[in-house]
């Protein structure tokens, strides 16, 4: 296609062209039927990315759920995602934890590893180094539970792969800002 000849206006939105960033959004929603479909549908309908998503009720009496979404895109798109989420009627609050900075992020994973002899020893040694707990042990397999930042889990999974990785189940990222204030 022909490249535009005229100089770019500094005001044109550079969606899809700028640097891709990863942001973690906390979204507080009414825990009502369909609310997750609304949030997920917004991402698919507008072509946004979901890298990870976790959701659970956090205040039973108030029927509030907290959704944590890790998304990727240019900063303009991520700002737009925040506004689009706020537009949904059952959404109470959206906070971009990455933009706010200094948030803690954790993910829990279960990792099943099968093997015999030396492989079992190696798996246990690495698990200890990563502070993974053994939550199931059988003669030929372990299930490890590991909590940490997503990168740490990636790293552990890669180390288990040659030893006898069978399967992985991850919760996705849960996150919270540091300090006394809520989201």
């Amino acid at each position: 296609m022909n490249a535009p000849a005229a100089p770019l206006s500094p005001y044109s939105s550079a969606l899809g062209k700028a640097n891709i960033e990863f942001h973690t959004l906390s979204v507080l929603v009414d825990n009502e039927p369909g609310v997750l479909a609304r949030v997920v549908g917004l991402f698919s309908g507008r072509g946004y990315n979901i890298e990870s998503l976790t959701v659970a009720e956090v205040a039973h009496a108030e029927h509030l759920s907290r959704i944590t979404i890790v998304t990727s895109g240019p900063p303009e798109a991520i700002e737009q995602i925040g506004h689009q989420l706020e537009r949904l009627v059952p959404v109470h609050k959206v906070t971009d934890l990455t933009l706010r900075g200094n948030a803690v992020e954790r993910e829990l994973a279960m990792i099943k590893v099968a093997g015999k002899g030396q492989d079992r020893d190696e798996a246990l040694r690495l698990a200890e180094a990563f502070r993974a707990r053994v939550i199931d042990a059988a003669i030929e397999s372990f299930v490890f539970e590991l909590t940490g930042a997503a990168g740490k889990i990636d790293q552990f999974v890669e180390l288990m792969r040659p030893i006898g990785l069978v399967e992985v189940s991850r919760t996705g990222v849960a996150a919270m800002s540091r300090g006394p204030k809520p989201m």
Partner: protein, 586 residues
């Protein structure tokens, strides 16, 4: 009156308590209890449409022309899916609608029951919000909350899906008082710091322009009054999107005409060359901006919108003000006056001199003919012969819609009903029915094309049943004119499937529906024929046979900037107007 009643009775009672006097709908198995409740009362008038899409557009026409929420009532399954186009249309154009759909009984949901569909799933993406009411206890709250959500903030359609067993169930009704949404509270007032900044920018501007949209109309008549006040206070030029026509009068001296793809030369050039753009209730749609990376490169941009997600969505702005147009316009005027702000009069005079040069190009001109009716001429005559009356104009979608926007001039808001965002062919006739229901004594004209009108032709039967004297003014060129124009521009004149080879005889068709038919193909007889249409007290189909190959100009070819317009009299340029990149766009 006791507050113990069935769900169906609650629906009717809630509509009444919300001040609804007219609803549009079509009965079916899953809404029979509500229809039975309607049978027992005569406060709410039900208009029986012939297709649920018609009900949705009629409700839109009612809402757009009256400023109230439009209400439709349809059955489950096909009733709901047929309404989807109208719901999407209302979402795109921010029209407040309440759509009540019947649903199969709760115990059958998910079993692929007869006329079951996942209505809330299907309409989740084409409504502002939707509800499936699974128990009678929730129904009164949901009914009133739906009205609140549809009408507050950026308006939009809300679906309430009610299973048949909930319609039969008995519960305690709660009135609309004390019911508002738990958390949904749109921000109405603009941030005072930002208002002050906007006024400072206005005072410093050398080449300012107001760019207004449908948000001004949606905000209510007060917004239009305040807009006019602000324009006269500043003396700035003003243009509007398709959706915003009428909020500033077309006869006003600061009016540049509509902007965008088929906007005027002066409006688009003013947008391109301005140094301050004040966008009010408009959303920088692609029909408006043209090529984004060349959009108004030298201007500071202020954007006033009730929807925070509209700001910086398509175009980055320097100053976003979240708030309702009425509130923010009032604040701007107040601060402008309080600060005794003055505008740069010398610069503004020069700017107007430049604008007058663009105006002199007369971009809406066309070569009239004696032997054939030019479509622009037909709209001009319609305007001249109806302007003194209390008139509402609806349109279908295509060339006729753009000619109507260009050549019919609006002095007040809510008088112009058109499908802007979604571009729904078939919108105009049902919308005219809705507008006529809201304004029984007014003249309602659907400026139509012969292709669009066939999309919801069945609603002529509705007009006949309720003796609605809507006038259907068809600019008949036998082509889907806008498709034909784009095929000329983009595909070397290969008119693939854009010619309708078997059109009905519209005059006879009118007769079949008990309406009056008029045909005119002679420019010399046009005025008399239009007068006959206006004076006929019943529904009229006017088959206005026009030039078959007229193109709608001026035009910003797709992929081009505001200052690269295709103007009338430049026919040679048409074939090369769109480059390969532009061809990819819509």
């Amino acid at each position: 009156m006791t507050n113990l009643m069935t769900g169906a009775e609650m629906v009717v009672r809630a509509l009444r308590d919300q001040g609804v006097e007219t609803i549009f709908g079509y009965p079916g198995g899953a809404v029979l209890p509500i229809y039975d409740a309607l049978f027992h009362q005569d406060f709410i008038k039900h208009v029986l449409v012939r297709h649920e899409q018609g009900a949705a557009h009629a409700a839109e026409g009612f809402a757009r022309s009256s400023g109230k929420a439009g209400v439709l009532l349809v059955t489950s399954g096909p009733g709901a899916t047929n309404a989807v186009t109208g719901l999407t249309d209302a979402l795109m154009d921010s029209i407040p609608l309440i759509c009540i759909t019947g649903q199969v009984p709760t115990h059958l949901i998910g079993s692929d029951a007869f006329q079951e569909c996942d209505t809330v799933g299907i309409t989740r993406h084409c409504t502002k919000h939707n509800y499936l009411v699974r128990q009678i206890e929730d129904l009164p709250r949901v009914l009133h909350e739906a009205f609140y959500v549809a009408q507050n903030g950026r308006p939009g359609p809300v679906v309430i899906d009610i299973p048949k067993d909930v319609q039969f169930a008995v519960g305690t009704y709660i009135g609309p008082r004390n019911i508002e949404h738990k958390t949904y509270r749109p921000k109405l007032d603009g941030d005072p710091g930002r208002i002050a900044q906007a006024v400072a920018l206005m005072a410093a501007a050398r080449r300012p322009v107001f760019y207004t949209g449908g948000g001004v109309v949606n905000s209510g008549p007060a917004a239009s009054r305040l807009l006019r006040e602000l324009v006269s206070l500043t003396g700035f030029p003003i243009t509007s999107t398709l959706m915003g026509l009428g909020s500033y009068p077309a006869s006003g001296k600061n009016w540049l005409g509509m902007l965008g793809m088929h906007g005027t030369y002066e409006a688009n050039n003013a947008m391109h060359d301005c140094d301050l753009m004040i966008a009010i209730g408009a959303r920088f749609d692609d029909r408006i901006t043209g090529r984004l990376d060349a959009f108004s490169p030298g201007s500071k941009k202020v954007h006033i919108d009730i929807d925070p997600s509209s700001i910086n969505k398509n175009v980055k702005v320097d100053l976003g003000i979240v708030g309702d147009c009425t509130h923010v316009l009032g604040q701007l005027i107040e601060v402008f006056r309080a600060k005794n702000a003055s505008i740069n009069a010398d610069a503004l005079t020069k700017w107007w001199a430049q604008i007058d040069k663009w105006r002199a190009r007369k971009s809406l001109s066309f070569k009239n003919a004696k032997d054939v009716i030019k479509p622009q001429y037909a709209v001009q005559r319609l305007y001249e012969l109806t302007k003194a009356r209390d008139t509402y104009i609806t349109t279908e979608v295509g060339q006729h819609q753009m000619w109507a926007a260009q050549h019919y001039h609006f002095e007040a808001p809510n008088r112009w009903l058109t499908s802007g965002g979604l571009g729904t062919m078939g919108y105009g006739l049902p919308a005219a029915i809705g507008a006529q229901m809201a304004h029984p004594g007014s003249l309602v004209v659907d400026i139509a094309g012969e292709a669009s009108i066939l999309m919801n032709m069945q609603e002529l039967s509705t007009a006949a049943q309720y003796r609605l004297p809507v006038k259907i003014f068809i600019l008949n060129n036998e082509y889907m004119g806008m498709v034909r124009q784009w095929q000329e521009l983009l595909h070397e004149g290969r008119y693939s499937q854009s010619y309708t080879a078997a059109l009905p005889d519209f005059v006879k068709l009118a007769g079949a529906f008990g309406a009056h038919g008029i045909r005119c193909s002679d420019p010399a007889l046009l005025d008399d024929a239009i007068l006959e249409m206006i004076e006929t007290p019943e529904t009229v189909i006017f088959d206005c046979v026009v030039d078959k190959t007229e193109n709608c100009l001026p035009m910003i070819p797709s992929g081009k900037a505001h200052n690269e317009m295709l103007l009338p009299g430049e026919d040679a340029a048409i074939e090369t107007a769109i480059d390969a990149a532009g061809k990819m766009l819509v």
